[in-house]
Amino acid sequence: HPVNIPRKEKDFQGMLEYKKEDEPKLIKNLILDLKPRGVAVNLIPGLPAYILFMCVRHADYLNDDQKVRSLLTSTINGIKKILKKRGDDFETVSFWLSNTCRFLHCLKQYSGEEGFMKHNTTRQNEHCLTNFDLAEYRQVLSDLAIQIYQQLVRVLENILQPMIVSGMLEHETIQGVSGVKPTGLRKRTSSIADEGTYTLDSILRQLNTFHSIMCQHGMDPELIKQVVKQMFYIIGAVTLNNLLLRKDMCSWSKGMQIRYNVSQLEEWLRDKNLMTSGAKETLEPLIQAAQLLQVKKKTEEDAGAICSMCHALTTAQIVKVLNLYTPVNEFEERVSVSFIRTIQLRMRDRKDSPQLLMDAKHIFPVTFPFSPSSLALETIQIPASLGLGFITRV
């Protein structure tokens, strides 16, 4: 229940008053000690950001530049501190990325700059900052959000990395296509995977977990799309790089398995309404490598088809896959040296890089499109569980 004496919401001005000496306590309780998995689960998404902004508003209202500066600096340092301490925990990083972005959006939405006020209600416009222009602090917060985003990518990469080769390449879910093992010895379906073996389902489950955490934290949908695109890029790059290094992964049936796995990832995107995220496009090199494993590789026409099909692969990658291609049954045959030569000749004019492996550590530049909130600041109540009894709704 709220800590304040009940009053009509229209009486509030959407500000929070606190004493200067309580600032460290505010940072401690709201940032350093807040557990995303505990108390924060029941909060409205972005509540810490709204609370901090309403405190900034009050300091601005008092025309106290030192108080504003001090609060903003302590907030930024508090967020950096918690991310140093629990920076390997996806939930913590996602939570503070969401809140840092929301805080940044609030500073824009209530800046008084016309460009950011278009969607505001009359009441929201009355809540704009009156004394200070915080544009420089917005820049600092934007830089901080970029840092947190990169940290989030590193965390999810560490979690996904051990699953990718096993789930995307090694584990076989399609029965009857691989000629490697006699049918009786083949592993059963993914639902009964060997203990400790990651399957495609493990990857999909992990994607679900990441996605639901980000949604729960109220992360901007446009930002979620960027995270998902980055996750798919990592999955595609790590899978392709391993395929390019392993002869046992370059067969017709592996091509089939990879295409199936990719279709499941696409299905996941569709299910989450993320088809416009650009995530699927990052899998294109892998999709083409899988197709290359499956197409005919014999005649001049085949060579022409391969060259026009594999535009997302470098010549080095195409040649490597053809060299590694290994027949696993009597219907398939090795790619001839002359066919590979033909491909090389046809690709001569393509000015692509000699690069064989993809840069699996590449991070796409992130942007934080302005996303104003319809939430009315004067209606925000502070749950007692946050331990902020020393601040007053104004």
Binding site: N77, E126, D133, Q139, V140
Partner: protein, 31 residues
């Protein structure tokens, strides 16, 4: 929308790195 009475004062901000430096030295000073 209400009109502003007077232009807001731009609050100069240190960069993120400068902020961290200040923060670290403050922490070092603390007992």
């Amino acid at each position: 929308p209400p009109q502003r009475q007077r232009p807001r004062v731009l609050l100069k901000a240190p960069t993120l790195a400068e902020m961290e430096e200040m923060f670290v030295s403050e922490e070092d000073d603390s007992p």
